[in-house]
């Protein structure tokens, strides 16, 4: 099993997300994460899909994506060939006893406290998927109330033959 990132430019039309997600379900391809958003061109959206599988599956995913008539372009790369980021918001319960620990974890992992109430605190991290996951693991021993994650966003590393 290998992890693979697909950066897919699609027509920004209704139903396209469903078609792409349906393709993965129908052909039994994994989706580790899927994020979608408009690009600089409002007619084009970019989907970042993280998937995994053997060589043949990884190749099939790319070919099947290319077959979809709403797909404009598929770029595919490994994690090492890309810059990838994930944004996560975590709400934790805090009290006198754990507050220091929470702030220390945030400091070490360069996470930010973005909101706070008497009993709750919201932490934001925007980092590589591994470090995001690490923060989550660290906070699990405290008391997590809610989590929201964007899933991985990625672009291939800059190179001189970019189009």
């Amino acid at each position: 099993m290998r992890k693979r990132i697909y950066s897919v430019l699609v027509e920004n039309r209704s139903g396209v997300l469903g078609k792409v997600a349906g393709l993965f379900a129908r052909r039994c391809f994994n989706i580790d994460s899927l994020t979608v958003g408009e690009t600089d061109d409002p007619e084009i959206s970019c989907m970042t899909i993280v998937s995994s599988g053997d060589e043949r599956t990884i190749e099939q995913i790319e070919k099947q994506l290319n077959k979809k008539l709403d797909v404009i372009k598929v770029k595919t790369f490994d994690e090492t060939q890309s810059v990838s980021r994930e944004l996560m918001l975590v709400k934790v319960r805090h009290n006198k006893g754990n507050r220091r620990e929470i702030t220390e974890i945030c400091e070490i992992l360069r996470a930010e406290i973005v909101d706070m109430s008497k009993h709750f605190m919201m932490i934001q991290i925007c980092d590589t998927p591994e470090r995001t996951k690490l923060l989550l693991t660290m906070l699990q021993s405290i008391s997590i109330a809610e989590v929201a994650r964007t899933g991985t966003l990625a672009l291939a590393k800059c190179s001189e033959n970019d189009d």
Partner: protein, 538 residues
């Protein structure tokens, strides 16, 4: 002019002659506008068969078949027909009526999310939300359906869009889609590589699939294999690429195929799959065809290449273009010894059948029927034991063999035969089905009668869902479950009810006489053949 008029103009621009369908309120503007056109409408008796009939027509004309049905149940009923066409890459344009755009998403009467429901069975689909888009969408739909890997396209049109005024109609001369540019021409380097392999090969073989027929490459392929004396086998969908009795043709491969064809494929040192998917029924062990041999895979759909078997030389492109490019290369190859071996395999082929003389032997019957058919006749096989017997014993001359290969949809033969007959009325069209598959499309006898479509129908009657019974015979040791068809109607009375001629063949005794009468004119006939209920295809 309203949207519905524009749709009809689009169909006229595309040269459409027939529309198969079933009306309902949501498609009524369309069926009202079509009255002003020369396009003929055929009221099919259930929507699924509209798609099958359009499929039969498409396979004979090489142009997308068209069907038009209403929203809700009309649209959902047509899905099996669309899926059948999709599995065999048959070009269709299917128009569905839809509820008013204001009601979309409110679960209103006869509303179904058909574009959503059909997504995995279409090449593409549209939900028309603006009447001005109609010309572009239809132009694109016909283009998508009939280029690259062929397939069905669905256009869902809300009733208010059909009724909306359209200020000016202009049919686009060109299609401009940034996301759709199928590769037609094969890569020159890959073509050279294949030629090198053909020069080197001692035991080459070409396995042809439905793609050869879809790209109309039959003559190009035949010329090429005849020039270099390369043996050919076929998948089920590739039957009728080569005449059955051609000296270079060794039959259909697969678990229901000919032993000599399978042996030829397995023992080859160069296997060229041309317009064939390497699907499980044709190649049950894809590992076998990649081991010890060079595998060349030619397909217009890049996703098919490497999906089931990793080829040595992938070659993306339209089969016709590729064989035309092959023909431009001059090379030498020598494999007479291999041909002699294959000829020996064919000659020593053991047929294990021991037919019961009290009944019609489907094998002998189908062979005799083929011999008596017009050379360019169209043979439409249904699904079940009848399909396997047809594949094994029908002798193709210059005609066509149509069947539902990928999806294996029962009831395909009668509507598809109707479509084929309307496509070319001079040709003899024969539908061969079992008593199970016949009853799935029996209602279309009314359509045949209403529009005078003289299809000849043969029912191989054994009182069972024979293919399933055979499976239960082997797998469950004759523990039969839900395969007994004993409630079936008396076919002579069915024929009489539809004002159709009826013939009965009880055993092989009168086969000559019965077939001569059956084929003697251009009228529709229902021929019932009594087959041993316990007969097996294997």
């Amino acid at each position: 002019m309203i949207g519905a008029d524009a749709i009809i103009k689009c169909l006229e621009e595309e040269g459409v002659k027939y529309v198969f369908g079933y009306p309902g309120v949501a498609i009524c503007p369309f069926y009202n506008s079509i009255l002003q056109s020369e396009i003929q409408t055929i009221l099919i008796r259930t929507e699924q068969n509209a798609a099958h009939a359009a499929s039969g027509m498409a396979r004979l004309t090489g142009r997308p078949g068209v069907c038009a049905v209403t929203s809700g149940p009309g649209a959902t009923n047509v899905i099996t027909g669309i899926a059948t066409a999709f599995a065999d890459s048959i070009p269709l344009v299917c128009i569905t009526g839809q509820v008013h755009t204001d009601l979309l998403g409110s679960d209103s009467f006869q509303e179904a999310d058909i574009t959503g429901a059909v997504e995995s069975f279409v090449k593409y689909s549209y939900l028309v939300k603006n009447v001005a888009d109609i010309p572009r969408i239809f132009r694109e739909a016909f283009h998508i359906a009939n280029t690259g890997r062929r397939g069905p396209v669905l256009i869902d049109i809300p009733i208010n869009i059909q009724n909306a005024p359209i200020s000016k109609f202009q049919y686009p001369a060109e299609v401009n889609m940034r996301t759709y540019k199928p590769t037609v021409k094969g890569h020159a380097v890959q073509i050279k590589k294949v030629i090198r392999e053909l020069e080197r090969a001692k035991r080459p073989i070409i396995c042809v699939g439905g793609g050869v027929l879809l790209s109309e490459a039959r003559d190009d392929l035949r010329e090429f294999v005849e020039k270099y004396r390369i043996p050919v086998v076929s998948t089920m969908m590739g039957i009728s690429v080569m005449p059955t009795e051609h000296p270079l043709y060794f039959g259909m491969v697969g678990n229901h195929g000919k032993a000599c064809a399978n042996r030829a494929m397995n023992e080859s040192d160069l296997l060229i799959m041309a317009g064939a998917r390497v699907a499980d029924r044709a190649v049950s062990q894809p590992d076998l065809i990649t081991r010890d041999k060079v595998l060349v895979h030619i397909d217009v759909d890049p996703a098919e290449i490497g999906k089931n078997a990793g080829p040595t030389i992938p070659l993306v492109g339209d089969v016709k273009h590729i064989f035309q490019d092959f023909a431009r290369e001059e090379f030498n190859c020598e494999h007479e010894e291999w041909l002699q071996t294959l000829e020996e395999y064919r000659r020593t082929l053991v047929v294990m059948r021991s037919p019961n003389p009290a009944y019609v032997d489907p094998a002998a019957f189908i062979t005799r029927l083929s011999e008596k058919m017009d050379p360019d006749g169209v043979y439409v096989a249904d699904v079940g034991q009848n399909q396997i017997w047809s594949c094994s014993y029908h002798i193709v001359k210059e005609g066509r063999f149509l069947t539902s290969g990928g999806m294996g949809t029962m009831g395909y033969s009668i509507p598809a035969a109707m479509g084929a007959k309307l496509a070319d009325k001079r040709r003899q069209v024969i539908a061969v089905c079992g008593d199970g598959s016949f009853q799935m499309s029996m209602m279309e006898l009314a359509t045949m009668r209403q529009y005078d479509i003289p299809v000849k129908i043969i029912v191989l009657k054994n009182g069972y869902l024979g293919m399933v019974r055979e499976y239960q015979h082997y797998t469950y040791k004759d523990h039969y479950s839900v395969v007994d068809l004993s409630g079936s109607p008396m076919l002579d009375k069915i024929a009489a009810a539809y004002d159709m001629r009826y013939q009965l063949l009880e055993n092989m005794g009168r086969v000559e006489e019965v077939l001569d009468t059956f084929l003697g004119d251009d009228k529709s006939v229902l021929l019932e053949c009594l087959v041993d209920p316990m007969d097996l295809v294997k």
